[in-house]
């Protein structure tokens, strides 16, 4: 039974992956065209200075292939992508693929930690609120969630820095993933906290974690609200359902009723929302990355966009779209494992 269920889930995931390929292609073409439509001429931008001559700009334009027609450029671009070449960034002078590979782990580590903090906070908050709807606790949770959503992440980030770094001195200075004096561990996963552990360097691990907590917390604050609200809503439905009444009718313990019967059912929609929240956070954390000088992909893409550097922006959008597909896939698989009803569809 279990094997067939898992197999069906995998087959479903595979189909989902295939059906998302056209969407990915669409994203590719769309961003390409969008970049061409946006004002700003990269050739002018990357010329030696404001008084660069016309010939020099023409020269650069030719060098970059911008003198060709847009469809021609698109064909070149697509064939490059097909060969795994995302182009070269004018800003850093490095291949975009290399830049992204260096910066993606930083963003992922931050987002994962933020999501983890958000889930650990939101699920119990939602459950507590649902157990006593209309009570002081319920209203307290609602207020907290409202505040989290109202305050933009860069404001909450700055507030956290002010309190924990400036006033209390508990947090290290908010300048990137690790302070300059700590030696980096050998890179294996790219996640500093994991790499330090693998290298057995616990001081380094502690330092990396301390750097991570504040930015992750300020991102988490923003997404606790949707997660807690959906937990509360689905927990309310679950607690009012017939099978919870059945569980109570045979005298199951409070813990068993709430956790095994109600919460396990209520967590299903939370999985879906968590997937959406994760994808959104990955792209939207540019403000947090800027505030904490975090060397992530989002701030990289923003810098590239401001300087009309086409290749990194296009690479970034492609990366985000692929991650989005991947996250949805993971959500699908998790859902299939958590809910035996899904596999029969």
């Amino acid at each position: 039974m279990v094997m067939t269920g898992l197999g069906a889930t995998m087959a479903r995931a595979g189909r989902r992956l295939l059906s998302s390929l056209p969407a990915l292609f669409g994203v590719l073409v769309f961003t390409f065209l969008l970049m061409r439509v946006l004002p700003g001429d990269p050739a002018v931008f990357f010329a030696s200075g404001p008084n660069a001559g016309k010939e020099e700009i023409e020269q650069i334009r030719k060098q970059m292939g911008l003198n060709k027609s847009v469809p021609e450029q698109l064909v070149f671009y697509l064939s490059d992508i097909g060969h795994g070449n995302l182009g070269r960034s004018m800003m850093t002078g490095q291949p975009v693929l290399k830049d992204l590979r260096e910066r993606l782990p930083a963003s992922l580590e931050l987002t994962f930690t933020a999501l983890l903090i958000a889930l650990i906070a939101a699920v119990p908050l939602g459950v507590v609120a649902a157990l006593r709807p209309g009570s002081v606790v319920d209203h307290g949770v609602r207020l907290f969630c409202a505040l989290g959503v109202c305050v933009p992440t860069f404001v909450s980030g700055l507030l956290l820095i002010y309190v924990f770094y400036y006033l209390l001195g508990l947090a290290p200075d908010p300048t990137g993933r690790i302070d300059v004096f700590t030696s980096l561990p050998p890179q294996r996963t790219g996640f500093l906290s994991v790499d330090f552990l693998l290298a057995g360097d616990f001081d380094g691990w502690w330092a990396a974690c301390k750097q991570l907590v504040l930015p992750a917390a300020s991102m988490a604050l923003f997404v606790i609200a949707p997660l807690a609200r959906i937990t509360r809503a689905s927990m309310l439905v679950s607690l009012g359902s017939d099978f919870v009444r059945t569980a109570r009718s045979v005298g199951l313990s409070w813990r068993k009723v709430v956790v095994t019967y109600a919460l396990r059912n209520a967590i299903l929609p939370v999985i879906t929302i968590a997937g959406i929240v994760f994808s959104t956070m990955l792209g939207a954390n540019v403000l947090v990355e800027k505030v904490f000088s975090w060397p992530g992909v989002a701030s990289y893409a923003l810098d590239a966009l401001l300087s009309s550097d086409y290749a990194p922006v296009q690479g970034f959008v492609l990366l985000m779209a692929s991650l989005f597909v991947l996250v949805n896939l993971v959500v699908d698989i998790c859902y299939g494992i958590a809910d035996p009803r899904v596999s029969i569809e």
Partner: protein, 556 residues
Amino acid sequence: MSEELLRIDDLHVAFSTRRGMVEAVRGVTLTVKAGEMLGLVGESGSGKSVTGFATTRLLDAAGRVTGGKILFRGQDVTKLRGDDLRQLQGAAMSMIFQNPRAALNPIRAIGLQIADAILTHKRISKDAARAEALDLLRAVQIRDPEARMDAYPHELSGGMCQRVMIAIAISCNPALLIADEPTTGLDVTTQKVVMDLLADIAAARGMATILITHDLGLAARYCRRIAVMERGRIVEEASPGTLFSVPQHGYTRRLVAASPTATSRIEDLVTEEERERYAAVLGKPRPALAHGTPPLLEVRKLAKRFDQGSAAVTDFSMTMAGGESVGLVGESGSGKSTTSRMICRLIDPSEGDIVFDGQSIGHVASRDFHRSPLRKDIQMVFQDPNESLNPRFTAFDCIAHPLMRLDRMRTGEALRQRVEECAERVGLPLDLLPRFPHQLSGGQKARVGIARAIACRPRLLVLDEPTAALDVSVQAVVLQLLDRLRRENDIALLFVSHDLNVVRMLCDRTIVLRNGGIVEQGESRALFDNPKTDYTRKLVEAIPHIETGPTLAAAL
């Protein structure tokens, strides 16, 4: 066996709602002896389920016992808390619920769910609990119990889910079992099997049972004592025989009259004053059809296959004359709803043809049929009056909508008159027209549904279980209304139902379906009195008849 197990003394239960406290139970007093099966009968809102939930302490947060006592073995249940309460629930008394599929945890294997109940009250290992759960599945006669242990509720039929629910309820050998509408929503044949099983188990284990039901016939078949509830009070308590032969209370009399039996006629179902309008129509002779009139509806070799491959309906043929009423009966999954929807042109048949009034309509795609001039001639009344009305439409809008869409009427005086005329015909008071569905009662909603269907003066009305969600007294009025409309306006009725007693009364002819094919058809009374096939006989025998009840109960 005369030991008093449960004594409910002047019980009052109130619910706090937006409009203040509402008393659902007002002074119920009853006793249950050990090993006895008591029937608690009443219509929706009578407080019978609330009494059950108060006894097992499962009332919603909004509900509260405001007075009286519930003594279980001399101990007041309403005052128990914490561990004492949990000792009681499941171990001493347990409950079976109406909707078995919803009553089981959808994402937990049924074996685990039974084991959960066992482990709560017995200090045994998980393996031992699993073994006991397996025994229980055998006790409730589930086929292939080893394999079913790991099944999830959605993989089982409704009847199977109810057996699992029974297994959970009896897992710790309670002394009292409260069954709240345990078979509502199940097929008649499944209903009989499940109820027989429940009665056998209760008898074998010496469990007292309270059977809460709206079905007098069911209660009569299985209980020796029946208490009738109305508006939170017990109005009468007697043995089934006495209850049916000499009902004392006015409400019991109405209820007994409204319950369809093998011999009842539509005109008998309601009391004198409600009958007047119907009687006026009944007197008029129906004009004989001119010789050689073509049939109104002719269905030829209809078949429907869904994507999964197996056929839902095969080789279905029938004819209907104008003003005729035909019943379509069968268990769930027999294809009766699919057939009726094809005839209504809501879904497309895979094969075969439908000829309505000489025109072939089987090949008009269901998507486009709304543009056909015949759309207004074929209308449908749906099963659930709550779900089939748009919650944002007033009763007036609901009835006016088909007139505007199909008869191209514009908002104005003429439309208002037509809508009021329809409401008048179905007996819906005109002052209810501006109300929204949630402000109407079940019977009123059913009337709106019927008024909407007859608004465009159809010649064929397809009714898919139109009274399944209604109380018997409301059902009686609706059935009479349908029959009156048929006689007044010569509307043909295709009546889809699993309630054979209703079909017997309302329909001239009956078609019995099984697994998508016709098993038997013929004139209704002859078919039910003298079924030719085993399947029909089984269906007929499964209906709990009030007449046969006492003899069976006495035999137990």
